[in-house]
Symmetry: C2
Subunit: 453 residues, 2 copies
């Protein structure tokens, strides 16, 4: 086209990032990186399974029912096939629907797996790909999404939903890696992805929020498929004068695009949610589960619960007496009470029934929340007084699921099994678990996909 | 969802606009508005036909070939069916590919028909719709797209490609109108559209530029289909604190969303391109065609051509001796020469062959371009001196195709027939013309669609 003149005179950041993404090999990955990928696959699938019958998803599927796209990839757990891009759209929204999916918090808050894995699973139904290639592609998605986000640091305060915007880049990079694009085509995949990047925080609290993840999956998948066929784009989509870091963000930190490539792998610092609510509640829930173990059989003897938390907890989740399941996700009182009664805060703990449960309400009334400015967002302190005056105390230094205190593999597996209940039978769920831990041994990822449909 | 609280305390602009879009009837439209729609349909189809074998489009179709979407709507003139959303994607890019499609220039520069008509034709293959309903829907698309653009006045300087961003709203509003959405659902269609709005100027000069129009068509179509099924969104997607006018633009002019609704119809001020090049060249081409008529048979006697133009012409299109067809679109010298020789500046005048044509080169060398600050962008003056010293002069006050000097219906028809050559045979082209001028008489728009495939 003769117009591919670079507008900047600085480093060719996007091209360098693309060259790295295109060039690294599965064999370059540390064991911990590969394990992070296996954990990510299992956890994300569970989150999608848990949402597979959600009414929002039914609306999306109704809208697509007459679209004439029925010969492509599988919608998870629904026994429906749509076009590859439409299946990526649905699965991406499904994975993010309950806001229970993994969260990367290194400077940007990104639910990378919903766009990336939804796109990858759709692409993997197009042709034979190995588990190793799939894992390398998944890793590439994190590198692109998180780094491009870090290069545009004002992007979240500017009003964008990062899982929509960055997710599009991440999905394109991942599928581009899966397709084996060279550096030039990978650059174009990022350029075609960026020009579709969207998702506004204005839509928080609506069905659009999780839709952003699906849109990102679908658009990123298409971007990579187009680049493969020679469709071109700007070669400086991030750093260009009218590039992503300029028009989606007031500030730029372009060096983050290439800094430490190959030394740090961003998927390794991915976070997994142990509880089906906002991360701000997690330290207090951790505290309650620890105290529950200390209290043992004396749960009915509890007279008083005191919890000290970071101020944000009360601001965001100060609801005292929630009346619905959705409402209860915004209640520190409900969350602490169910954590103490059940030793869990999964999807079952945030149902309409549990919000109205008299036993939960009774314990809720015994809870006092105090703000402590000295506590970080991943910290909490808890104190329980039981009949007779005996006192139990605990302090949470790093909430479970953060990079400093990751969920154990066992906990990831248990979370999956709870989430999968209702989507697949127990034998199938166990088979998926076993297969996910050996994902890199798959000769053809379609052998895995048949299990999850 | 319990979270649909309006963040602003000003007028509910988006809801008011949506209520108007949902509420007006075909019977409310002035004859000139309906005629503008008929002209728009015919002109847009021609522009799409002219691009239907473009290599960029082949790449897009190759990427979609394995997508598993084959039972929906028609790709224009290609005898291919894809899913409705994918067909809208392809047809939207096809319509905008040559940058020959209609251009609305009232404050925003928007190629509205490519996203809107591509989406509408796809939707019209889903169920029976009348020509009248289709025209009302087309009109709704212009109202939404242009008004939302005017409400975000810094949006183009900010780096966005408006046909991508505004086109998404426009396509959603149009399909929403076609589906008969009520005010509430129309509000959601706009909200779902806005959260997908994208397209960066960084991609000018690449295949992504026209792709933006297709993406807008496809995403807008899906937004309306989702809203129909009860999928929700923010109800203040434009004016909200994190809404479109805030995060895509530094300034807001929200009153433009509702000002004069029903009194002015924005499709009536749509512009059509008589020439297959940037609008900046059009006044000079007009001048040359007028002088050609004056010179008559004496074209070979021309000794000297002097053209006075607005300074922007030389800045943007100052190429003296272009070597390719694409390059010749950026040459005022080439454009003036072919206009004088052929009396036209259509697609045929911008081929590689004509760029290299010795007769064109010879006339080019006789042309002098002078900048005149007093000339507006839609003005030009021309002067021809022939052998023996006879002089012909002309001044163009408003270039053809602008709102102040629209192309005649006859000119629109001739442009269509030239564009359709190679896509459909002459009899079919004539049939399409006749049918487009009676578009509102169609009982089922599918009777028209069969003609254009």
């Amino acid at each position: 086209m003769g117009m591919h003149i670079r507008s900047g005179d600085g480093p060719a950041y996007t091209q360098e990032l693309a060259a790295f993404l295109a060039g690294f090999r599965y064999e370059d990955l540390l064991a911990a990186v590969v394990q992070a990928a296996r954990r990510g696959i299992l956890d994300w699938l569970g989150c999608a399974f848990a949402a597979h019958r959600h009414p929002t998803l039914d609306k999306l599927l109704m809208a697509l029912a007459d679209n004439g796209s029925s010969n492509g990839a599988s919608v998870l757990a629904r026994h429906i096939r749509l076009s590859h891009t439409d299946a990526a759209l649905v699965n991406g929204q499904m994975g993010h629907l309950l806001d229970y999916d993994d969260t990367h918090m290194a400077g940007v808050i990104l639910h990378a797996s919903s766009p990336v894995l939804a796109a990858l699973f759709s692409a993997a139904e197009m042709r034979q790909v190995t588990g190793r290639d799939f894992i390398a592609a998944y890793v590439a998605g994190f590198e692109a999404g998180v780094r491009i986000g870090q290069a545009a640091p004002d992007h979240h305060p500017g009003g964008w939903h990062l899982t929509g915007t960055l997710g599009t880049f991440a999905a394109a990079a991942a599928v581009g890696k899966l397709l084996g694009l060279d550096a030039q085509k990978m650059t174009h995949a990022l350029g075609i992805a960026g020009t579709q990047a969207a998702g506004m925080q204005q839509n928080r609290g609506t069905m659009c929020k999780s839709f952003h993840a699906g849109r990102a999956a679908s658009n990123g998948l298409l971007a990579a498929l187009l680049a493969e066929k020679g469709f071109d784009s700007s070669e400086e989509i991030v750093e260009g004068k009218r590039g992503f870091a300029r028009i989606y963000s007031k500030q730029q930190a372009l060096e983050r695009l290439t800094q430490g490539l190959g030394d740090e792998w961003l998927i390794a610092t991915n976070g997994h949610k142990p509880y089906a609510c906002g991360v701000v509640l997690h330290p207090a829930i951790d505290a309650m589960i620890a105290l529950r173990a200390q209290v043992g059989d004396g749960l009915d003897e509890v007279e008083r619960v005191e919890i000290h938390v970071n101020p944000a907890v009360v601001t965001i989740t100060g609801t005292v007496a929630p009346t619905t399941g959705l409402h209860s996700k915004f209640s520190i009182y409900h969350s602490a009470a169910v954590a103490m009664i059940d030793g869990a805060a999964g999807i079952a703990q945030y149902s309409d029934e549990r919000a109205a449960d008299p036993r939960v309400a009774a314990l809720r009334d015994k809870i006092t929340i105090s703000v402590d400015e000295s506590l970080r967002r991943d910290q909490a302190r808890g104190r329980v007084v039981v009949k007779g005056g005996k006192v139990f105390e605990t302090k949470v230094e790093h909430a479970t699921g953060t990079a400093d205190n990751p969920m154990s593999d066992d906990a990831i597996e248990k979370k999956f099994l709870a989430n999968a209940d209702g989507a697949v039978d127990a034998a199938k769920a166990a088979d998926i678990v076993a297969s996910a831990w050996r994902f890199d041994a798959l000769e053809d990822v379609r052998d895995f996909i048949v299990k999850v449909n």
